[in-house]
Symmetry: none
Subunit: 321 residues, 2 copies
Amino acid sequence: MSTMPEENTRTRPRHAIGFVARRTGIPPDLLRAWERRYGVVEPGRGPRGRRLYSDADVERLTLLRRAVDAGRRIGDVAGMDNAELAALVEEDRRVMVERPGRPAGASPPPGTSAQAGAYLDAALAAVAALDHVGLVEVMDEAAVALGRRALRRELIAPLLERVGEDWYGGRLRVAHEHLLSAVLRGVLEPMHRDASLPETAPRVVVTTPAGELHELGALMAAAAAVERGWRVVYLGPNLPAEEIAGAARQAAARAAALSLVANPGNAQTANELRRLRRLVGKDLAIYVGGAAASSYDSVLDELGIVRVNGAEDFPAPPADL
Amino acid sequence: MSTMPEENTRTRPRHAIGFVARRTGIPPDLLRAWERRYGVVEPGRGPRGRRLYSDADVERLTLLRRAVDAGRRIGDVAGMDNAELAALVEEDRRVMVERPGRPAGASPPPGTSAQAGAYLDAALAAVAALDHVGLVEVMDEAAVALGRRALRRELIAPLLERVGEDWYGGRLRVAHEHLLSAVLRGVLEPMHRDASLPETAPRVVVTTPAGELHELGALMAAAAAVERGWRVVYLGPNLPAEEIAGAARQAAARAAALSLVANPGNAQTANELRRLRRLVGKDLAIYVGGAAASSYDSVLDELGIVRVNGAEDFPAPPADL
DNA sequence: GATACTTTGACAAACAATGGACAAGGTGTT
DNA sequence: AACACCTTGTCCATTGTTTGTCAAAGTATC
């Protein structure tokens, strides 16, 4: 579509081999070997015969490195075109760490303050450096400076998005993402420990359905629910419908909140939702949110489940009784 | 356009045997043996006679491995078609639920104080009642009263064991276990945030290998490591060997600590350990612990990996340099 | 001279294929 | 109980291929 053959920034060669090596994590020797043996890319040449790689080349090399990291053999993937390669890498990633489908581009930080922006930069730097302690320090400071609400909206949410993007662009690895998850869990978990709520406040069970391992959405939801006046029973991720139903019954909960991120539109999750509705009957309110939630809209409709757009829209508890 | 009968991505052979082995958890030798003896799949061949498996092959092999894991004999299930197999696996799964390997009876609380015993009872009651807030209160009080070390030894470790037993005996449900996990994570995570350690303290990367979803052992290890004077880079659970190696390299870590709880003696985990050792070379110390660790003893020996008995035995960092 | 790049050739490890062997555990027969 | 037999996962030897890395020798730039 945008393929003016010349002049295109994507295809204009300009990166030297050392730069590309650092950027992709592939040593120069190996870059040359891959080119020599499999013709993996065809970089242009500078005046003295030096290799000059285009952005498109870098992109393709990043995909190849990911495929190899996932356990593929370079000879098996070297011949694939970029589309095929991208599909392969995406699939491998799903299996390796259960972490899924491109989130349907959450909204970019809207009214982010300059202050939050500075924390965001500092946090990103700490993640990139795998600096656990530094990241915790940034989050603690930000928590004090911004308050809970802004912390979630202006720091944590954009941070998750940026790290996701950077991973996708090959600048970060899965390990960075895990580090962030671990720290954020530590930051978010205390938020729903709020014991100041009356014993009689309506309860909500917060979890993710079986097959859905990503917990951060659930933690954000739990923190938001506390602020709305719910008493939260937090159950962690990956719980079968029977367990959710049993817990809701035992806790005398008025609602269940589920976060859906992985595998948009997958059949197992839809079935879990159906089973849950059947097990709990019509009286329990069920809320779902998360990047993948909208892909289940038809099922949600059929089951009378409410879709929540972002943690800030978490419903207030019913006033009756 | 995607429905050309050939050209179909599901049936086009493209996965090398090593990759399939990792993906399915079936070692290469066994893959070949199953093919030779039962014709379980018919992979295509690459130009030099190398096996290339299709997505459909991988799917079928995964089903077969699940059936075998559930106690079926390969000879009995090898002839079934995929639909039959899927039904069988689904049925078996319902029976076994999700039985994590029986822990090899961790030591009963040795010198437990009466005080800790009271906290233990209170904590168990809160878990049984799904009382999130109450459980947090008990843990917070206990943390102050007992101190970190005794908290781990005399409360958290026995608590995990008791809940595990009660769950196994049907007195508690998965939801109770998850509630406990979530709260304990909140308690343990701050323990390795200790910023008082010098920037130059030797670093240890703490995580669990791919396939191992249980995080609490890793958290206990992280907390113990901090007390021993390590600077901890905590990466959460379920990380492939490449990622662990990459993170250790980037963090300039002196050691990696892994917690193993699920599926004692399983092949995937053993392979992950082997790959990790290969990727990091001989210079990085690797520690493993957890209920399932002893079932890998021969592998650990072969790889020069140190088995740690309980978080209290976590090794001190090397004094050299 | 130090640095960054080029080409070519070489090499050790890791990986894969075939076919055979074997031990541990289960099944069946007497 | 003892026995032979089958099943199954693992291991080995041998051969060959693939792949990451290294070294040598040369060139341009600062």
